[in-house]
């Protein structure tokens, strides 16, 4: 029974990690930057969702508001921060990592701002369906309607995003702008706005991750609750496992990571929660640096 429970816990948290990974992969695929600010953006979006929920008393509206808010935040970040970064590109030692430092700083900045606006106390977000486990033959699983909902939503999101990227013109523009901005421009694509769109989509995905992570826990939201940086790291590792270029890889990477962490916590030691991601990342980068679905030479960004 323990085995099944561990498996289910792993799968559920894995889907949320997958969402964070999707957000990271979205930005990577459309702008070739790793957005370390995704945890901050997700936090802010979740607060937007919370505000909507207190007024309108519906989780789904709250989720929609969070997604829209996330998209707006993502777009604003691209317009205000990333474009400036591109313009002032230096040739010094931090040239290649300036976006990393800037987005990390952004995450912390957003967190401080959220704390200033909403305070450090927990506020609650109530889940739309119950989080009590399903009962089969008298034994209660850890799997609940809520977790099922999360799983299904993430899969649907992933499907929609994949279709957008692979089958639509806008998806082609997104990919072309990421692989070769110059050729994209010479094809008449307004690369700047396409990049903004990529960030907006990533912001929306992060918002969903934030909302679900909050309700999947105990519904408590505070600037420090999305154990933000840990989730960011795990999302990043999930993206790396999947190969930074693949949306499907992001989800699978998230699931794999969720399972690995769940099993480590259950069967090795629960205290390793914080260090396990690091060890797993090192191992993954050692064995297969381009991830499960990535192309070669992905190690050097």
């Amino acid at each position: 029974m323990d085995l099944v429970n561990t498996f289910l816990i792993g799968i559920t948290s894995g889907t949320i990690y997958g969402l964070m990974a999707i957000s990271i992969v979205l930005v990577w695929r459309s702008t070739r930057i790793v957005n370390f600010g995704v945890s901050g953006m997700a936090l802010l979006s979740t607060y937007f969702g919370y505000e909507a929920m207190t007024r309108l008393e519906s989780f789904w509206i709250g989720l929609a508001v969070a997604m829209i808010g996330g998209a707006v935040v993502g777009a604003l970040v691209e317009i205000l921060l990333i474009r400036l970064l591109e313009k002032h590109k230096s040739t010094g030692p931090i040239a290649s990592v300036a976006p990393i430092i800037a987005t990390l700083g952004l995450a912390s900045l957003i967190r401080a701002t959220a704390a200033m606006i909403w305070g450090g106390q927990d506020v609650r977000i109530l889940a739309p369906v119950s989080n009590d486990g399903f009962t089969i033959n008298g034994t209660t699983l850890v799997f609940s309607p809520l977790k099922l909902l999360i799983l299904v939503t993430v899969l649907v999101l992933m499907l929609i995003l994949s279709i957008i990227f692979q089958k639509t013109n806008i998806g082609l523009s997104l990919r072309a702008s990421a692989y070769s901005p110059e050729i994209a421009r010479l094809s008449g694509i307004k690369v700047n706005w396409v990049r903004t769109l990529g960030w907006a989509l990533a912001g929306a995905a992060g918002a969903v991750a934030g909302m679900f992570e909050t309700v999947n826990g105990n519904g408590a939201l505070s600037p420090y609750s999305i154990e933000s940086f840990l989730l960011l790291v795990i999302g990043f590792i999930a993206a790396v496992i999947g190969g930074l270029d693949s949306l499907i890889g992001a989800v699978i990477g998230g699931l794999v990571l969720g399972l690995m962490i769940a099993f480590v916590l259950m069967y090795v030691s629960s205290g390793l929660f914080f260090i396990a991601p690091f060890i797993i990342l090192i191992i993954v980068l050692f064995i297969r640096p381009q991830g499960l679905f990535g192309a070669k030479a992905a190690r050097r960004a």
Partner: protein
């Protein structure tokens, strides 16, 4: 004159790449731009297509000023630029690369028709339509790049060293195709080439650049017959 460049000066940082260059190309004609390395040929094309800003001078296309206009906007005015070397996206398929060319039109029917047209010009692309562009040979990639440029239904085609790195037989084919396209689609073409002879043979007009300045402008055949040009660029 559909393309009119006057007194164009372009800098790379502190270095002057092009100085007071003036060229005029009539509609429907193919102008070959030749010159040795560093003469400023690539810079000239990149400035016309909007990738680079000139320090001074003016450029007119179909009677309208095009200085300071972004490349993506110029595509909509009929200017297509096939840049040197890296002009296909290796990670995308042949079809996707072609679709890119027409993407700004947002007309999928037209796009499909254009792809059929390109495939009829370059049958090899048709065979490989579903393959990723990085599986193509050098010649096929060049065809793909030109094909993509044509998808945009351009009126002005800027080609930067299409023969670079290609086998002589393939080069001949490409040049011939460029000539045929110029005539059949009534294109105005600027063809920058190191392969001076090959370029001049298919061109109407020849322009010789040296160290950022125009040193000769004439009918292509006249330049081929000119002993000075022959000695400097045609190897005999």
């Amino acid at each position: 004159m559909s393309l009119n460049v006057s007194n164009l000066t372009v800098h790379h940082g502190a270095i002057c790449a092009i100085s007071q260059v003036s060229i005029a190309v009539p509609t429907g004609k193919l102008a070959a731009i030749i010159g040795s390395n560093g003469a400023g040929k690539t810079t000239l094309l990149r400035t016309i297509s909007g990738l680079k800003h000139p320090t001074e001078g003016s450029m007119m296309w179909k009677g309208e000023k095009i200085v300071g206009i972004k490349p993506e906007a110029l595509v909509r005015r009929g200017i297509s630029h096939v840049s040197e070397g890296k002009s296909v996206i290796p990670e995308l398929t042949v079809r996707e690369n072609l679709e890119l060319g027409a993407i700004w039109r947002r007309n999928s029917k037209e796009s499909k028709e254009s792809i059929d047209q390109v495939v009829s010009i370059f049958p090899r692309l048709g065979e490989r339509i579903k393959q990723r562009a990085d599986t193509l040979s050098g010649g096929e990639r060049q065809m793909l790049a030109i094909g993509r440029a044509i998808m945009a239904k351009p009126q002005l085609l800027l080609l930067d060293e299409p023969s670079l790195g290609l086998a002589p037989l393939v080069v001949e084919q490409i040049f011939q195709t460029i000539r045929d396209l110029t005539t059949s689609m009534n294109l105005t073409v600027l063809l920058v080439e190191q392969n001076a002879m090959g370029a001049l043979k298919i061109a109407d007009l020849g322009i010789v650049l040296n160290l950022g300045k125009v040193v000769a402008v004439n009918h292509a055949q006249t330049l081929i017959d000119d002993p000075a040009v022959r000695a400097a660029y045609l190897g005999y």
